[in-house]
């Protein structure tokens, strides 16, 4: 099975880090994995996104046209990726910010009030973990434990104090996903 | 012979850098709590007491040139633009 997942949001919302974390978890689980960021002009102030591919086989193209999974932390990302998502793909969006009206019927769009939840958890920066958790609830790419382990192993020193909070956020995401409204359902 | 002033801020083009707020001698510019389309909290004139003198210091420092300044002078022919 090959998973191709795009994380997308404003710079600073942590899309790149969430993708990296998943990549670390995949690597630790012995999978093939690629992580590739958008880089360049759009970075300053604009949108940042990355593509993570996780597979049992050697990975050719590190980029995909139609990802099977998208995590959209802001409205432009939701707008951009709704049409690109693969049929029957999953799109987890930060419903605290995203107002984009989804119209495709052949995808799973899940509203996760990530910013709100992060605020409740005490730190806006936890948004990315909430959405990542939500994804783990639906997309069986890796078990939660693998991601938590990756947090333990690879979180940079300067974010260490947020380690537990990150884990809580992941779990919160799972919880939110489980009761999330699915469009189309 | 007090001058009375007023500024207009092009809120959609303000980047919320707060520089104007730090230099206004009358302390009548505040940051809004809403976000503009670019995602910034714009500055705004909050001058219930009409303390703005139209000194244009805010306009002098604004990196995005989004401040327009007006002044009403009572008592003499208005001076030329100061900047």
């Amino acid at each position: 099975m090959t998973y191709d997942i795009i994380f997308s949001g404003f710079g600073g919302q942590g899309a790149l880090f969430a993708g990296q974390l998943l990549a670390y978890a995949a690597m630790d689980a012995g999978r093939f994995v690629t992580w590739i960021p958008s880089y360049g002009p759009e970075m300053r102030g604009g949108t940042a996104h990355c593509t993570v591919i996780i597979s049992e086989e050697e990975i050719g193209s590190p980029l995909v046209r139609n990802p099977s999974t998208v995590i959209a932390l802001n409205n432009p990302s939701a707008e951009k990726y709704e049409p690109l998502l693969a049929t029957n793909g999953y799109l987890f969006y930060n419903s605290s910010l995203v107002s984009h009206p989804f119209t495709r019927r052949n995808i799973h769009a899940l509203a996760i009030p990530g910013s709100t939840a992060a605020a409740e958890l005490g730190h806006a920066k936890l948004l990315n973990m909430v959405l990542l958790g939500a994804m783990l609830a639906y997309v069986p790419v890796l078990p939660l434990e693998a991601v938590e382990q990756a947090l333990d192993n690879h979180i940079p020193a300067r974010r260490r104090e947020l380690l537990e909070a990150n884990k809580l956020a992941l779990r919160k995401g799972i919880e939110l996903a489980q009761r999330a409204v699915q469009i189309p359902a | 012979m007090a001058a009375k002033g007023r500024i207009e801020i092009d809120a959609e083009h303000c980047k919320g850098c707060e520089l104007c707020t730090t230099v206004c001698p009358q302390n009548v510019i505040k940051m809004s709590d809403w976000f503009n389309v670019k995602g910034y909290r714009p500055a705004a004139l909050v001058d219930p007491a009409g303390e703005c003198t139209g000194c244009a210091v805010c306009a002098v420092i604004c990196p995005d040139a989004v401040i327009t300044v007006y002044r009403t002078i009572t008592g003499r022919t208005p001076a030329a633009a100061l900047v």
């Binding site: 690597m27 590739i36 193209s61 590190p62 | -």
Partner: protein
């Protein structure tokens, strides 16, 4: 050693450190900046030389100087910066001091943009400086290859007293993948006998690219060409994918090669008999192998992230034996597997032998 999740640019920098690079000279430019930044931390830490040069022109001439002492040295840049290095590269080639150059390509011409591209093929492979020389060009497609080829670059540069380059598009520079770094090598203690280091107890050494008399310069050029022939004979590297039974051959390097690989896989799943040859050395080019494949093939498809540059070398190898088609994206646009797949399918249709067309129609 275990695998680490490494970014291409950083992996190359650290691989160079492990390979024993003793001096790095460079100038910031996107999308290779992480490489320079990694060096700015690591080299002083290890007591080795790091200089942020005033320009790429200065950087390549610092490389020229340091390499003249027989030390391992490198620089890195991206397309416009590499253009500025052409005079220096020609001097280095002309005086045969081993040097390693990394080019993380971006979109051009001009300032263009910083998105990934492969449009430095000509300037790196055909040699852009004046005079008759070639440089070894290694084109990694994965982070692991980026590491391995960086090591190889130092070894080949020294073995042949030549310029060895690592040529990658911005994508490979920015990509993170699990990869394994080599152990730290011992630094070489004694300089090679041709190096300048102070004429202590020996005749003086001179590093120079001048040969004022045409006949002398020609003699030097013969020597140089003979060396290049030797490299061409010994150092061709490429990777094949599903080449068994392939009637159509896709050729692509770096990111384009990876994308083509996915497309080939998809095409095979559709029953199209296609395979991939991904050159790892762009110079020396796997001409012989391609020429062999051309004996049997119905057609070639060259995929590049430029307007068609490597295709010249493929055409020379194929020498008219079958059609050579091209699919390219430029300006930093990365082709995706579905586009390449569609082109393969078209080539398949266009080159089907008459009997098979009949069979299909019948």
């Amino acid at each position: 050693m275990t695998k680490e999740l490494l970014k291409g640019n950083v992996a190359i920098a650290e691989a160079a450190v492990r390979a024993g690079v003793e001096a790095y000279f460079g100038y910031p430019i996107t999308p290779q900046t992480e490489l320079l930044e990694h060096m700015s931390k690591r080299m002083p830490e290890l007591g080795r030389a790091f200089v942020q040069a005033e320009s790429e022109v200065a950087a390549i001439n610092m490389v020229y100087g340091a390499a003249s002492t027989g030390k391992r040295v490198m620089t890195s840049s991206s397309s416009p910066g590499v253009s500025l290095m052409q005079e220096g590269l020609s001097y280095i080639a002309g005086s045969e001091v081993p040097s390693v150059i990394v080019d993380v390509m971006r979109g051009g011409p001009g300032l263009g943009n910083i998105a990934p591209s492969q449009s430095d093929y000509f300037q790196m492979v055909k040699m852009a400086g004046h005079g008759d020389y070639k440089q070894i060009v290694l084109a990694p497609a994965t982070v692991q290859e980026a590491i391995d080829l960086t090591l190889l670059a130092f070894d080949l540069a020294e073995k042949y007293r030549t310029i060895a380059t690592v040529l990658l598009d911005g994508n490979i520079g920015q990509l993170m993948e699990p990869a394994e770094l080599p152990p730290m090598r011992e630094l070489r203690q004694t300089p090679p006998d041709w190096a300048v280091s102070g004429a202590k107890g020996r005749k003086k050494n001179i590093i120079s690219s001048i040969h004022l008399q045409p006949e002398e310069l020609e003699t030097f050029n013969h020597k140089l060409q003979a060396k290049l022939k030797l490299i061409a004979a010994n150092e061709v590297r490429y990777k094949e994918y599903m080449i068994e039974g392939a009637e159509l051959i896709v050729v692509g390097f770096g990111t384009a090669g990876r994308v083509a690989q996915t497309a080939v896989k998809l095409a095979r799943a559709q029953g199209i008999p296609v395979g991939l040859l991904r050159p790892i050395t762009l110079w020396p080019f796997p001409e012989e192998r391609l020429s062999q494949l051309a004996d049997e093939a119905r057609g070639f498809l060259v995929v590049e992230m430029n307007a068609g540059q490597m295709i010249d070398d493929v055409k020379i190898a194929v020498a008219g034996q079958c059609p050579v088609e091209f699919y390219g994206r430029t300006g930093g646009v990365v082709p995706l597997p579905d586009e390449v797949l569609a082109t393969i399918a078209k080539l398949d249709q266009a080159t089907l032998p008459a009997n098979r067309v009949a069979a299909l129609n019948g």
